[in-house]
């Protein structure tokens, strides 16, 4: 009885929370200003990226199958929905939310069939070879779509009814997180972890490796497909250029930076990595002097942290203080250099648009984070309050469940 109360309660809480978020963002709550269209779009895309990152984490981090073609499943979902909406929506006469939820399910099925097709070769391949096959599969799907005139080809297609259900996007993200979490907490999830740790040993222990790998691919791609369905209805326009290799790389980066295998890590990294480039969009143009000084400052901070990690073995608190100190030192060095370099006419005259700097800063962040903390921010752990306490040097009050 209590079990069911908790279950139903959390489901109600999730749906309620998503509806509240929707109302907050669209300005239906009195006293809260409406977020502009661009802001709404960011909230939706962040939710979609959380879904994508967490679902890729299921394949990549939890099951250890190295897939770098996740945008393909996203694309399959988006185009399934796009095609069906243009063809059948008017005839179906369904109300909006029912239609979109139905489309999410159908797209999830379509994407999971694609996932099955990719998952099957994964039985024979491992490591880098699997990575390349998934990458190639993503490219093949994109080129096929590009050459199908029926669905718009390379010009893209307009999806007619435009449904912008922010609550549905975040509900999907929460569902995805919940499914992964529950999987790991139950006996069904242990084989996934076993396959990641050692395939041969786990098959010797009676794990059906084939089934686990294919399940991971099917489940992960189904969520990506559902996210694609929402994207198609939200943007009302889809084109193959929205699903290039870069998108797959960005999703993969979110998973790896968050810490492969950490669900919360992937989700948080997805939100941060999505907002970072978007925030950089509105930055003022940077002069050459500022850019060079910034690069020098960042390099100094990284060198300090790198040195610290390899040479200093104090308590966590002291190490934390040193990390903060090197970052502060980096900032100081940056300010000093920018003042000095301002007198160099060639550097001060050149201006770089912030929009062009976006991807550069993104790439640099990626490299620096990997150099400083290669196992990802959360490594294999999940975010929890006991983890924060342990980080600060206190003993954890409760038992930690490692993912």
């Amino acid at each position: 009885m209590r079990y069911w109360l908790i279950r139903l309660g959390s489901i109600a809480l999730a749906i309620g929370g998503c509806l509240l978020l929707d109302m907050l963002v669209t300005g239906q709550v009195p006293g809260v200003n409406k977020v502009d269209d661009f802001g709404q779009r960011l909230v939706v895309l962040a939710g979609l990226y959380v879904t994508l990152a967490v679902s890729l984490n299921l394949i990549n981090g939890i099951t250890g199958q190295f897939s770098i073609g996740h945008a393909a499943f996203y694309q399959v979902g988006a185009y399934t929905t796009g095609f069906l909406a243009v063809t059948y929506f008017d005839r179906s006469g369904l109300p909006g939310p029912v239609w979109v939820i139905g489309m999410m399910l159908i797209s999830a099925v379509a994407a999971s069939i694609a996932g099955l097709v990719v998952g099957l070769p994964s039985l024979r391949l491992r490591g880098d070879y699997l990575a390349i096959v998934t990458l190639g599969f993503g490219e093949i799907i994109r080129i096929l779509v590009q050459n199908s005139d029926k669905i718009g080809g390379s010009y893209g297609m307009t999806v007619r009814p435009k449904f912008q259900y922010i609550w549905l996007v975040w509900l999907l993200a929460i569902t995805c997180i919940a499914v992964c979490r529950n999987l790991l907490k139950t006996a069904h999830g242990l084989p996934f972890l076993a396959v990641r740790e050692d395939e041969i040993a786990s098959s010797a222990m009676g794990v059906n490796v084939t089934r686990v790998k294919v399940t991971a691919f099917v489940l992960g791609s189904a969520f990506a497909g559902a996210a694609g369905a929402l994207l198609a209805h939200f943007e009302a326009f889809i084109s193959p250029s929205m699903f290039t290799m870069d998108v797959s790389f960005i999703i993969l980066t979110m998973v790896v930076l968050g810490g492969t295998g950490s669900i919360t890590g992937s989700a948080i990294a997805a939100v941060l990595l999505f907002y970072l480039p978007e925030k950089l969009r509105d930055m003022a143009p940077v002069s050459g002097a500022g850019l060079v000084a910034g690069v020098i400052g960042v390099l100094a901070a990284v060198a300090g942290i790198k040195w610290l990690i390899s040479n200093y073995h104090g308590s966590r608190l002291n190490r934390g203080i040193f990390v903060v100190c090197s970052i502060v030192a980096g900032v100081v060095i940056q300010i000093v250099f920018s003042m000095v370099l301002r007198n160099v006419p060639a550097l001060a005259a050149t201006q770089f648009e912030a929009a062009k700097l976006r991807m550069v800063i993104f790439a640099a962040t990626l490299i620096i984070l990997m150099l400083v903390r290669p196992q990802g921010v959360f490594a294999h752990h999940e975010f929890s309050w006991s983890w924060v306490q342990r980080l600060l040097g206190r003993r954890a009050p409760t038992k930690e469940v490692a993912a």
């Binding site: 990549n60 190295f66 070769p121 024979r124 391949l125 490591g127 880098d128 070879y129 990575a131 390349i132 096959v133 990458l135 190639g136 599969f137 490219e139 093949i140 080129i143 096929l144 590009q146 050459n147 041969i200 040993a201 290799m245 870069d246 790389f249 993969l252 980066t253 790896v256 930076l257 492969t260 790198k306 770089f352 062009k356 700097l357 976006r358 991807m359 550069v360 993104f362 790439a363 640099a364 990626l366 490299i367 990997m370 150099l371 290669p374 196992q375």
Partner: protein, 385 residues
């Protein structure tokens, strides 16, 4: 469409030309693939930034050609020494860039999980693409002035001679045309004023003879099988072969090469046996990036594609596929894979599906990996517990 129609629509007389084009394209892929394959063999790392090293090499050759006075619109005459300078400088800069990338981005990651170095490689690749776009000229995309290439002509070969009957008919048609023209000219010279009546018949006769002759000439052109290859592309192929032979010699018959093979066989044991592993890895990156630089210079100079900072993306991906196709870590495999990749691409174009030319690489790759996971010339290692 049924198969018979499909086959009937094909023009078999252009097939040899397309195959040759494929081999020339494949030579470039092979040069890049050699770099991938060496690095993967030694470090087990997919060096995603290799395509960007290729891109930088193309830009270096562009700047060197500018510095030598072959800016856009220049009409100077060039000598082959200019080409050699461009080739060497491109190789040098690419080699240095490759070594620096290894030193700063990959070496600190070596003790970490392989996925971490892969992400770093993706990061370096993105950084070079977008960071390069800030500094390097890319809109409008510049291209190397073709005057810098002193060897302009085309190598022409006739594989199958033109049809003898057609040749005879064409000759006769030509004579008939010349005669008709002479008659017309003679008549109009005789009587320049009264052109309507007396010359009209002769003019029509001349035009009809001209049409017949042109028709026959066109059929004649299509009846033989000929190859036209610009000399520049012949140079690409020749240089590629020379570089590959040098690399093979280096790997198989020198002490550095033996150390390279030892490191790729077993990284840890090699270092225990006194091989300076770091130096070998640096050397591997140097060689691989220099080959990419050579390929980039030749591609940019002789084929003349406009340069952007994403210039290395497609060739890089295809060359990587070529390396996997041939069996990654294997030098002849990379060459074979590159050539197959080039031929497959031009064959797809010949079949009339030119929009799928980028997909074919991956389709071949997936098929090969499913049936021979180690690649065509790679060994199928059985994993031991």
């Amino acid at each position: 469409m049924d198969l018979a129609n499909l086959v009937a629509a094909l023009d078999f007389s252009t097939l040899p030309q397309q195959l040759v084009n494929g081999i020339l394209l494949g030579a470039i892929y092979a040069l890049i693939a050699l770099g991938y394959t060496r690095v993967y063999g030694v470090l087990r790392l997919i060096n995603f930034a290799h395509g960007e090293v290729f891109m930088l090499g193309a830009y270096v050759s562009l700047f060197v050609s500018y510095a030598m006075g072959f800016g856009p619109g220049s009409t100077r005459d060039s000598t082959w020494i200019n080409l050699v300078i461009m080739l060497l400088s491109s190789m040098l800069v690419c080699g240095i860039v490759g070594v620096l990338i290894e030193l700063f981005a990959y070496r600190p990651m070596r003790s970490q999980a392989r996925i971490a170095s892969l992400i770093t490689a993706i990061g370096v690749s993105l950084l070079l693409q977008y960071g390069g776009a800030l500094i390097l000229p890319n809109s409008p995309p510049p291209s190397i002035n073709e005057r810098v290439n002193p060897i302009q002509g085309t190598l022409e070969m006739s594989l199958v001679g033109p049809d003898a009957g057609l040749l005879k008919q064409a000759d006769e048609a030509k004579i008939a045309f010349t005669q008709a023209e002479d008659r017309y000219k003679a008549q109009s010279a005789l009587d320049p004023k009264a052109e309507q009546a007396s010359t009209k018949g002769l003019r029509d006769e001349k035009n009809a003879a001209d049409r017949t002759y042109n028709n026959l000439q066109r059929r004649l052109d299509n009846s033989g099988v000929r190859l036209r290859v610009p000399w520049g592309q012949v140079i690409i192929l020749g240089t590629t072969i020379v570089l590959m032979l040098m690399l093979t010699y280096l790997v198989l018959y020198t002490s550095v090469g033996r150390a390279m093979r030892a490191v790729s066989h077993d990284f840890d044991s090699a270092s225990l046996m006194g091989v300076n592993v770091n130096r070998i890895v640096t050397f591997t990156f140097l060689i691989g990036s220099m080959l990419a630089g050579a390929g980039a210079m030749m591609n940019a100079t002789f084929i003349g594609t406009p340069l952007t900072t994403f210039y290395g993306l497609q060739p890089g991906v295809k060359a990587f596929v070529a390396a996997v196709l041939g069996g990654i870590g294997n030098i002849p495999g990379a060459v074979l894979g590159g050539l197959l990749m080039g031929v497959a691409e031009t064959t797809v174009v010949w079949l009339g599906y030119s929009s799928y030319r980028d997909a074919i690489a991956f389709i071949i790759l997936i098929v090969v990996l499913l049936f021979r996971p180690g690649g065509l010339m790679g060994s199928n290692k059985v994993e031991k517990v």
